[in-house]
């Protein structure tokens, strides 16, 4: 297929380097104020108003079961286009849009730890760095309701 399929919008999460296919990304915006959603999964950090559209923001750190960001560190929104409207992934830092060679693709290495294994489709071996390709379908799904009281205080 065309080379666009191999273009990735990249971002960082807790020291790891991730990418999602560029055509899935609607836009990247800085931190927005959010309205928290009580009773929802802790992954749902809140709702943002994106030019009149209500967008659910999912914290990818929590989705990947990584430690929360330090206080004062504001995440960025990677807004994805999905069948059910826009959806935002909260990430630490935005990287470049990069083009990768199909040859460099490999399935997730056995050493990949924790939740990341389920959410990563594969890895591109770049020079000096590994680019983890996020399985957006998996990333978007999350348990609808948390068990009682989890992270309510957080």
């Amino acid at each position: 297929m065309s080379s666009r399929a191999n273009q990735y919008c990249t971002f960082h999460l807790d020291g790891l380097y991730f990418g999602v296919q560029v055509e899935m990304v609607q836009e990247v915006i800085r931190y927005q104020e959010m309205t928290p959603v009580p009773l929802a999964s802790p992954v749902v950090r809140g709702l943002i108003n994106l030019r009149g559209q209500i967008v659910t923001a999912l914290d990818m750190r929590r989705r990947l079961e990584m430690p929360d960001r330090e206080d004062g560190e504001l995440p960025m929104n990677v807004v994805l286009r999905t069948d059910e409207g826009a959806l935002s992934l909260l990430v630490d830092e935005i990287g470049d849009v990069i083009e990768v060679d199909e040859e460099s693709f490999e399935s997730p290495p056995a050493t990949l730890r924790g939740r990341a294994r389920d959410l990563v489709r594969g890895v591109h071996k770049l020079e000096g760095e590994l680019l983890l390709i996020l399985d957006t379908e998996q990333a978007m799904s999350c348990a609808p309701e948390s068990p009682h009281g989890v992270e309510v205080a957080a």
Partner: protein, 813 residues
């Protein structure tokens, strides 16, 4: 490429038009069966089928053309009077309409006519055609039957009239309107119809120009140049032609998607307007104030009009029902007359769509279960033909739809029996239900009262789905029935879902919107009133609202915005705002931190990650641009267990057949002769205190004047055996504590010594201690407490006139 697109468009248009026309054909056919001599109806059906045939011939759909052709032949014979319309022919024609629809939908999805074979139908239609009683009809019929060629709107309409006056030709022009008919001036019409000479008309026109105020027809008649009857006929014809023309010329077909977009944009505009209006508080520029005022007005008006474009008459849904009723009634051998009132009542298109299935289901049910077969009806002294009445009207910003039949009605006793049979509840629980509650059992999943499972209904799926679907669009459904007289379903739905008025409240710093339809009233208690008015015992707070017990829920707790420890700490130290809401017809109070204004909000759907949280119905954007969640009142109430009825009676329980029944119940605890007793709170309508002096006697019975009526009193101390008589006399109570039970004329006061508590508990009633007046006992809060058989006590005491109650509790006594 573009040719393809063009063809696509032609096909699309053909599909849309044909669907609409078929709806009309079905309606007309059913009407026609009642009045077979209505030539105008017949003519209309004929023209529609003819148009379909012509267009599909042009588009190359031969199968469709074949069916339409033979159908048209049959119609043509009927119209000419060569054949008469009977039930069989109507059925055949309806089946033709079905077949056409089937092929159309196949064309819609695949561009092909589909694999369906219609040989049998063609044969049937052919048979109907031959089945002519006698071929003595005018020979003219023959050529006409064979006539349909591709040529003409003209000739078909001309033939439509036969011996009728030619003036009808104008009206009869097909309204399929590739070219909208133009309305001829009256003068021209007169000449064409041979009513008056051209010269006479010119003269009359001249007279008019010179200032004769009379109308042209009048002038002609006065001058004896035309006959009044003919002029009148021509005028009517012109009027009708005008109507057809205006409909064709003044309306535009707009894709629904565009309207949806428009609605969204108006939603945005409403938000922007709200935002602008916020600045009017801080900016003092008169120019700005005037402009924003104007913006406000225009936006409101625009919103109204855009909403109107999405409004559709409910008749659009109803139009399918005559056919449904006819077919069903036929297959059950019943006779049903369908009446419709308020067809023109309008509601939002999405709601019209959403209400379609539930309504159809209710109508099917009414024909299947509601209306009895003719023999039974006659035996019951009713008209052989049952009546099904559909009524729609606006009331208080909502649309009410009633489906009423004059059939056998529903017996609450049967429903109770059924509920016990199905293991949904125990005997006692069933007997405790009020008639109304019992009636509402039919909406429970897996509940069906039909003696026989038919292929239409009675399989126990359906009514719960009907209810769910109606509630999903913010509506409610209620049933009322009188045994032997009929059943009435009342469906209440909002006018629109897109923009609704809502009350904005605050909880833990976040704003939430509560749809106004659920709102009953607001109560504010100052800090010092709180402890006196809110009885907060064992985590089940209750407020006495004008004597009624109102269960309370703190929004912070319901949404887990604070920990139980915090809730404990905050007890009664602050003023309390209670928003009294109604969920499922039961009121409950929601405690919120702060109450703001009512606002028009634009409802936006929630993403799938949040949808499952039943407490929220959607989200909206506030004036300051931030998002606020919209509370789902029903979901919230169910979460907080304030409406217990659902959990109790609905949802089949795997109840054991032993005496022990376990369910979660809210109970009122009280004391008589220092023995703790309980009754289900839902049986209690009020708690009252009466000074002893007010209690009077009639006959053997103690009564008190209460709300303009006489309330009979039953002293539980004597009605329930083994409670110790003496105690009551000893207690020096100035005030009698009375539990008011039941409603309306059936109210009875139960005299007790002391009200103790309200508890919400898993209730396991044990038969131990069962006797007259006591259902059994249960362990509540570590104590053995006896559950009073209220119905039994009241029945035994004889305070209620015979026959006033049809609840008879056999099980306990």
């Amino acid at each position: 490429m573009s040719e393809d697109n063009e063809l696509d468009e032609v096909v699309q248009e053909f599909l849309v038009e044909s669907y609409e026309n078929l709806d009309q054909v079905e309606r007309d056919l059913v009407t026609l069966e009642e009045s077979p001599e209505d030539l105008e109806l017949l003519g209309r059906i004929f023209r529609t089928v003819h148009t379909i045939k012509g267009t599909c011939g042009f588009l190359g759909y031969s199968k469709l053309e074949g069916i339409a052709h033979i159908g048209e032949n049959l119609l043509s014979r009927l119209r000419d009077g060569a054949l008469t319309l009977n039930g069989d022919r109507t059925t055949a024609l309806l089946r033709m309409s079905d077949a056409i629809r089937e092929i159309l939908s196949s064309i819609e999805s695949t561009r092909e006519e589909g694999a369906g074979e219609y040989g049998e139908l063609l044969e049937l239609l052919g048979r109907m055609l031959e089945d002519s009683p006698q071929p003595s009809s005018p020979p003219a019929a023959e050529p006409r039957g064979a006539m349909p060629s591709e040529s003409e709107p003209e000739s078909s309409s001309a033939s439509a009239s036969g011996s009728e006056p030619p003036s009808m030709a104008v009206v009869d022009r097909p309204s399929d309107a590739a070219d909208p008919p133009s309305v001829p001036p009256l003068g021209e019409l007169f000449v064409r119809e041979g009513i008056a000479e051209k010269e006479a008309i010119d003269a009359a026109l001249e007279a008019q120009e010179k200032g004769d105020p009379r109308k042209i027809g009048e002038i002609l008649v006065r001058r004896g140049q035309a006959r009044p009857k003919e002029v009148e006929a021509a005028l009517v014809a012109q009027q009708e032609a005008k109507e057809i023309a205006t409909i064709a010329e003044s309306s535009v077909r707009v894709p629904v998607g565009l309207l949806d977009k428009l609605m969204n944009l108006v939603g945005e505009l409403v938000l922007a307007r709200n935002q602008v209006l916020q600045y009017t508080h801080t900016i003092d520029d008169p120019g700005f104030l005037a402009t924003s005022q104007r913006l406000n007005l225009v936006t409101t008006e625009l919103q109204e009009h855009v909403m109107q474009t999405r409004m559709q008459p409910i008749g659009n849904v109803w139009s399918k029902l005559p056919r449904v009723v006819r077919d069903l009634a036929k297959s059950f051998g019943k006779k049903v007359r369908l009446q419709m009132e308020g067809k023109e009542t309008e509601l939002d298109k999405t709601l019209v769509e959403a209400i379609k299935d539930p309504l159809t289901h209710l109508v099917r049910n009414a024909v299947d279960h509601g209306i009895e077969d003719p023999a039974n009806r006659i035996a019951a002294g009713k008209d052989e033909e049952g009546t099904l009445l559909l009524r729609a009207f606006h009331e208080g910003g909502q649309v009410i739809i009633e489906i009423t039949d004059d059939g056998g009605g529903i017996e609450p006793a049967k429903l109770r029996e059924k509920a016990v049979q199905k293991g949904m509840m125990g005997h006692e629980a069933a007997a405790r239900l009020s008639d109304r509650e019992a009636m509402n059992l039919i909406f429970s999943p897996g509940f069906s009262t039909a003696a026989m499972v038919t292929n239409v209904s009675g399989r126990g799926v359906g009514m719960d789905v009907v209810r769910t679907n109606i509630e999903r669009i913010g509506g409610t459904v209620d049933v009322q029935s009188e045994s032997g007289k009929g059943t009435s379903f009342r469906v209440k739905i909002p006018l629109t879902l897109a923009i609704i008025p809502a009350l904005i409240v605050r909880s833990e710093g976040e704003r939430f919107a509560i749809p106004q339809v659920s709102l009953l009233e607001l109560v504010r208690l100052e800090a010092e009133q709180v402890s006196a008015n809110i009885e907060r015992i064992h985590g089940a707070p209750v407020y006495r609202l004008r004597g009624n017990l109102l269960p309370l829920v703190d929004l912070r707790d319901a949404l887990q915005q604070r920990s139980p420890a915090q809730a404990q700490a905050a007890l009664s130290s602050e003023a309390v705002n209670i928003v009294v809401l109604q969920a499922d017809d039961r009121p409950f109070g929601l405690i919120v931190e702060d109450v703001h204004d009512t606002e028009e909000i634009v409802v936006k759907p929630l993403g799938k990650q949040i949808k499952a949280v039943s407490a929220f119905a959607g989200a909206t954007i506030m004036g300051d641009g931030r998002v606020a969640l919209i509370l789902d009142v029903l979901g919230l109430a169910q979460r907080a267990h304030v409406i217990t009825s659902h959990e109790q009676h609905q949802g089949p329980r795997t109840a054991s057949n032993s005496d022990e029944q376990s369910q979660r119940q809210t109970l009122l605890l009280f004391e008589v002769g220092s023995r703790p007793l309980a009754i289900p709170l839902q049986l209690v309508s009020r708690l009252e205190e009466f000074p002893k002096a007010q209690i009077e006697r009639t006959g053997t019975c103690q009564v008190v004047q209460y709300r303009g009526a006489i309330l009979p009193l039953v002293a539980l101390s004597s009605a329930v055996s083994g409670l110790g008589h003496a105690m009551t006399d000893v207690i020096a109570n100035e005030l009698e504590q009375v539990i008011v039970y039941g409603d309306g004329a059936r109210q009875v006061g139960l005299v007790v010594d002391r009200i103790l508590d309200v508890v919400h508990e898993e209730l396991a009633i044990n038969a131990i201690g069962r006797r007259s007046g006591v259902v059994g006992s249960a362990v509540i809060q570590g104590r053995v407490i006896e559950i009073v058989d209220v119905e039994g006590v009241v029945a035994q005491s004889g305070v209620r006139p015979q026959g006033a109650s049809n609840i008879q509790l056999g099980g306990a006594s």
